[in-house]
């Protein structure tokens, strides 16, 4: 069947992939070279002065409380994202029930995540308004975007926006796994715990890890909803990494330090991303 390929050069078919790959690489190589270069300079946007400072920006960042604060808040956000997944799992189990109302739920559950995240942020800013928001009916006036509450409100907003997607993925995974597990549990003579350990967990675990990492990457990249609601405030109370990076470069003009921050974020995401892709590779192969 593949005889028509005989005698042709091995690399001939790369032309299909190359244009896209070259386009991306051209952009990426320039972007990385430039970012690394700027991260080694004292480039200040509003005066266009710049000198080479080596690793100074990285050192400054590592010792900078505002950076620690943003790392901490991003960490909190990631923990929030993890709790979100547990909720998504519970809801997915629920959606898996055979009731008519589930069809309606499954149809609309996608809405929060298809509308622009900035719109999500603005809608919730309105909903959580301390005075005119509808929640004042239930709980009375409450400052949802105060110094101690802002990050939690943002996690709530993020949950509304993204939990549905993970519900859908987990739901699909449950339906795919269920068949195999039903077949496997037909094997007699195994105790429930053995089945759980030998059959169910190995099936569920890889997909669970895949989902957790996918969620983690998005949580680290969160920008829009924070920018739309608090812009990192009050003070620095909700200043996650990406918001700090934006403000640093475009408000304060510290391009050098901003570039260094984006490289640090890159390394974090690269490590997580590689773990992720290794798992995906294993899953795709078998």
């Amino acid at each position: 069947m593949k005889s028509h390929h005989n005698g042709e050069p091995v690399n001939k078919d790369y032309w299909t992939v190359l244009p896209g790959l070259i386009a991306l690489y051209a952009i990426a190589i320039y972007a990385f070279a430039a970012t690394i270069y700027y991260s080694g300079t004292s480039f200040y946007l509003f005066e266009q002065r710049s000198e080479f400072v080596g690793f100074q920006n990285y050192l400054d960042l590592i010792l900078w409380p505002r950076f620690h604060n943003s790392l901490f808040l991003t960490g909190v956000f990631c923990i929030g994202a993890f709790i979100q997944l547990l909720m998504a799992f519970a809801i997915a189990l629920f959606l898996n029930l055979n009731y008519k109302i589930m069809h309606l739920l499954r149809a609309i559950i996608i809405w929060p995540m298809v509308i622009p995240p900035v719109a999500v942020g603005l809608i919730w800013k309105l909903l959580l308004d301390p005075v005119t928001g509808p929640l004042t009916y239930l709980v009375g006036p409450f400052e949802y975007f105060g110094p101690n509450t802002a990050i939690w409100s943002l996690i709530l907003i993020d949950t509304w926006e993204w939990a549905p997607l993970y519900c859908l993925i987990i739901l699909a995974a449950l339906q795919a796994i269920r068949k195999e597990i039903v077949e496997a549990t037909m094997v007699d003579g195994l105790s429930f715990w053995t089945k759980l350990r030998v059959v169910i967990i190995p099936k569920v675990m890889p997909i669970a890890i895949l989902i957790v990492i996918l969620r983690l990457i998005d949580a680290i990249k969160t920008f829009d909803i924070v920018y739309a609601t608090t812009m990192g405030g009050p003070g620095n109370a909700s200043e996650v990494i990406s918001v700090l990076n934006y403000l640093l470069v475009f408000r304060q003009g510290f391009v050098g330090r901003g570039a260094a921050l984006s490289m640090i974020t890159f390394i974090m995401l690269w490590v997580i991303g590689n773990i992720f892709l290794t798992i995906v590779g294993k899953l795709r192969r078998g």
Binding site: D13, T16, P19, L105, I123, L126, I207, L210, Y246
Partner: protein, 280 residues
């Protein structure tokens, strides 16, 4: 007894389902409601949960608001141009990747595939900072050209990510049979494989449009006035002295309605594509 517990169970399930429905839908309801409220009613505390006389002027003002309408046009132009360029690059790439080792001689398939996907995982600022500085030098800062290039960066990895798993699902026998009959590959692909993947291509296009349509960070950093997008224009309703909530909510509705309608089509593709075909 059995019947009673079934009734109780049904009741409980429906209650939980209704709570979930309210949780998902209430923010939308509140947006529509606010978009129909008179400005004086919006700032009333406690707020009213219903509006007896819809104030449609918010929508009229939205369509006469040049910043927003131009933003919509900018969003549409840059999203669609980026989509077409990305599809032009992503369709052959995904075909090649899906067919690697099954008729096409491409080695290192997985690492090539992952190279594309890695781009979705990179922090945007690695691109935004150099783009911003380069755009200023090249004079394409605040232009739709510059924005389109940035949007290709969103679309292309996403399109390869989704399309590869859709191509992988396509049976190859018919294409192979065509080629054995002497048709060249491109004819077999155009005549047989592409029509089979078409629903997947449409779903991928919708997903790409949703992502670029929703973009804020690229627009915020790479445009300022002329090429401002609709999402960026939303923020224009917020000033130091006041927030024009009524108009803002009307704009959100106009911006969101088309994508909510499109979302009905993509649901099943979204899950499959996002999980690399691992979850079907």
């Amino acid at each position: 007894m059995v019947n009673a517990s079934k009734v109780a169970r049904d009741f409980l399930v429906n209650i939980i389902a209704i709570v979930l429905l309210i949780w998902i839908l209430f923010p939308f309801y509140w947006t529509i409601l606010t978009s129909l409220k008179h400005p004086s009613e919006i700032i009333r505390a406690p707020p009213s949960l219903w509006v007896s006389e819809p104030y449609l002027k918010n929508y009229v003002l939205t369509f006469t608001n040049v910043e927003f309408t131009k933003g919509l046009l900018n969003t549409a132009i840059s999203s669609i141009s980026a989509l077409f360029i990305s599809l032009g690059l992503a369709i052959p790439a995904s075909y090649g990747l899906a067919r690697a080792g099954r008729g096409l001689r491409i080695r290192g398939k997985d690492s090539l595939y992952f190279t594309f996907i890695t781009f979705r995982m990179l922090p945007v600022f690695v691109f935004i900072i150099p783009f911003y500085l380069l755009y200023r030098i090249l004079g394409i800062f605040d232009t739709l050209y510059g924005l389109t290039v940035a949007y290709i960066l969103i679309d292309l990895p996403l399109a390869v990510w989704f399309l590869t798993s859709f191509f992988e699902d396509t049976p190859w026998d018919i294409e192979d049979a065509y080629m054995l009959d002497g048709y060249p590959r491109y004819k077999a692909v155009l005549g047989v494989t592409l029509p089979m993947v078409l629903p997947g291509i449409i779903a991928t296009s919708i997903i790409c449009i949703i992502f670029t349509w929703s973009d804020l960070i690229f627009a915020l950093s790479l445009t300022s006035k002329f090429a401002k997008t609709a999402t960026y224009a939303l923020l224009g309703n917020i000033t130091f002295t006041q927030v024009k909530w009524g108009e803002l909510c009307a704009q959100i509705m106009i911006l969101s309605l088309p994508i909510i309608l499109m979302s009905f089509y993509i649901q099943k593709y979204l899950v499959k594509g996002l999980t690399f075909g691992v979850v079907r």
